[in-house]
């Protein structure tokens, strides 16, 4: 069982001055999992992602990736070890084209990021992978346009394509469909559903339709701590979870 765990956080605590944003969180991500992390606004989901990816350093606790301690590694070192994230708010290279963005990411992943004498795109292995990704994420038609002029849905697709170009074994998706207009949504949902089966995914999402259609395991985070964890059916019928979400629902109706 424990051999099956690819990413593990044990007793994570993060305090900002007097505020405890993450309080003793333990989370195990299994190989090939489709694991959703849900919780109301302010529950500490994004802080947890930042701790896992190394943007923030935990006050206490330990993080292991495939059995190795990565608690003190820099963000780019965790990426090199196979853990990649996407961002809730697009973080793209605005003046580069999608093709350049992916070519650079694939080159970096293939260990060519330091090559300064050969041109970007000289290697067939790089450009062929770019071609696949462009195709898979419906970006071929806009591959030569500057990223900043792309439609929001395309930018969102590129956001995820960049992460996949790093060939992750663990993928952290931070609200992948946030803000995507209805017309461009289907394209995005399909690509999320079609992620490679051997990639273990931790999904943070507010959209319950996506969560319940996608996840086979769920963790509910409230006020920085884990409220409960289980499979989707258990979570859906859990009275505590209902209280948290319905409570908010009632507020909204007032």
């Amino acid at each position: 069982m424990s051999n099956n765990i690819v990413l593990s956080a044990q007793g994570l605590v993060k305090r900002f001055g007097g505020i405890t944003a993450t309080n003793n969180v333990t989370l195990n991500l299994h190989k090939g999992a489709r694991h959703a992390l849900i919780g109301p606004n302010g529950a500490g989901k994004t802080t947890l992602i930042n701790l896992l990816t190394g943007v923030l350093e935990p006050t206490e606790g330990r993080i292991t990736l495939e059995g190795q301690d990565i608690t003190r590694l820099a963000p780019h070192q965790r990426v090199q070890r196979g853990m990649v994230r996407t961002f809730q708010i697009n973080q793209l290279f605005d003046t580069l084209t999608p093709l350049e963005t992916l070519a650079l990411t694939v080159s970096q992943h293939q260990g060519l990021g330091g090559k300064w004498w050969q041109p970007l795109g000289a290697r067939k292995a790089v450009t062929e992978r770019c071609e696949q990704l462009l195709e898979q994420f419906h970006l071929t038609s806009v591959m030569a346009e500057e990223t900043r002029v792309l439609a929001y849905g395309k930018r969102r697709l590129l956001e995820i394509a960049i992460a996949l170009a790093c060939e992750p074994r663990v993928l952290l998706l931070d609200e992948p469909v946030a803000g995507v207009p209805a017309g461009e949504r289907e394209e995005l949902l399909q690509t999320v559903a079609a992620l490679p089966a051997d990639v273990s995914v931790l999904l943070i999402e507010h959209d319950m339709d996506l969560v319940f259609s996608f996840a086979n395991r769920m963790t509910v985070l409230v006020n920085g701590t884990v409220l409960t964890e289980g499979d989707p059916d258990t979570i859906a019928n859990d009275p505590q979870v209902k209280a948290v979400y319905l409570g908010h629902g009632e507020d909204a109706h007032v």
Binding site: V55, F87, Q91, L104, G114, L120, G121
Partner: protein, 320 residues
């Protein structure tokens, strides 16, 4: 078009590029009395090219780039005076000295915001200026380093009073380093620099070791700035504190603003524009030329470069 062709297409030379360089190399022949200013433009262009690598391509602002220019200049001059007068060996020494300084100084620009970088680079520039001033047994202090005699280039071409050899020497060094820089910015390494410029957070999130890249490009830019400084002291036979002065760091930034940062010809065309403007205006009003340069810059920034150099778009009304 296939992705590979699309990517590789960006590397091709445009038709006007060889024309531009041919004209540049023909200039000392066609305008023999202006060879000195051609030399000066080539040197400033190289200096601006160097700043473009860090400012335009990587997004590192600097107000102290003259530190490397001066380091290269003094190192080349001292080497010629005390060791040997060969220009190319001296150029290599100047580049090496500036590279070492760049590698050390790169430690200061890895963290912080644009504002802290402006302050820190300014500080490094001032420190170098004061060091050159105080170490007068070595540098000549405020009097400058006199008596730098250069040997003939490649053992054959003597530097003449009209500056023709100097102009061709500087242009050749500029061209070679330009071609290397061009190759670098089109490589995967160059692409990672642009990624850092556009979004540092995401650059880290795709596995780019950002601080290491910053150190590398800063050191590389220092090397090019050192080459420019070495060319200046070699072709003028003189090194003074002026090499380290703040106005050099500021001028080179203005040149990039005029020519456009983030493309390599920006520094070169900016240098041509800036030097010619300076030359023409200062021959008309020697005392007030900075006023006109200042006015030009204000107009340039307010109107925008694209519109200013396309007068036919001024009265066309707004298009959606």
């Amino acid at each position: 078009m296939a992705p590979q062709n699309t990517l590789l297409q960006a590397r091709r030379f445009r038709w006007w590029e060889p024309v531009f360089w041919l004209l540049a190399f023909a200039a000392p022949l066609a305008l023999p009395s202006h060879a000195l200013i051609v030399n000066e433009i080539a040197i400033v262009a190289l200096f601006a090219l160097s700043l473009d690598l860090i400012l335009g391509y990587t997004g590192i602002v600097s107000l102290g780039h003259a530190a490397f220019f001066g380091m290269g200049g003094y190192a080349a001059a001292l080497f010629a005076k005390h060791v040997m007068p060969d220009p190319l060996v001296g150029l290599a020494v100047g580049i090496a000295a500036a590279t070492v300084l760049g590698a050390v100084a790169s430690l200061t620009i890895m963290r912080g915001t644009d504002l802290t970088r402006l302050m820190v680079t300014l500080g490094v520039g001032l420190i170098m200026l004061e060091l050159a001033n105080k170490l007068d047994w070595l540098t000549g202090g405020a009097d400058g380093l006199q008596g730098v005699m250069m040997g003939p280039l490649l053992g054959r071409f003597e530097f003449d009073l009209y500056g023709r050899t100097a102009a061709w020497y500087s242009l050749s060094v500029l061209l070679v380093l330009f071609l290397i820089a061009r190759r670098i910015v089109q490589s995967p390494f160059g692409a990672t620099l642009k990624a850092i410029r556009d979004n540092r957070l995401r650059a880290m999130a795709i596995g780019i070791p950002v601080t290491a890249k910053l150190a590398q490009v800063y050191t590389l830019a220092a090397a090019l700035a050192g080459a420019a400084g070495a060319l200046l002291t070699q072709t003028t036979g003189f090194a003074s504190l002026d090499l380290f002065e703040f106005h050099r760091s500021a001028d080179v930034m203005l040149i990039l603003v005029i020519g456009g940062a983030g493309w390599l010809y920006g520094g070169i065309l900016g240098a041509v524009g800036f030097k010619l403007l300076q030359d023409v205006i200062s021959s008309v009003t020697p005392q007030y030329w900075t006023f006109w340069i200042g006015l030009f810059l204000v107009v340039l920034v307010l109107v925008g470069r694209d519109r200013l150099f396309r007068p036919w778009t001024w009265f066309g009304g707004k298009k959606a």
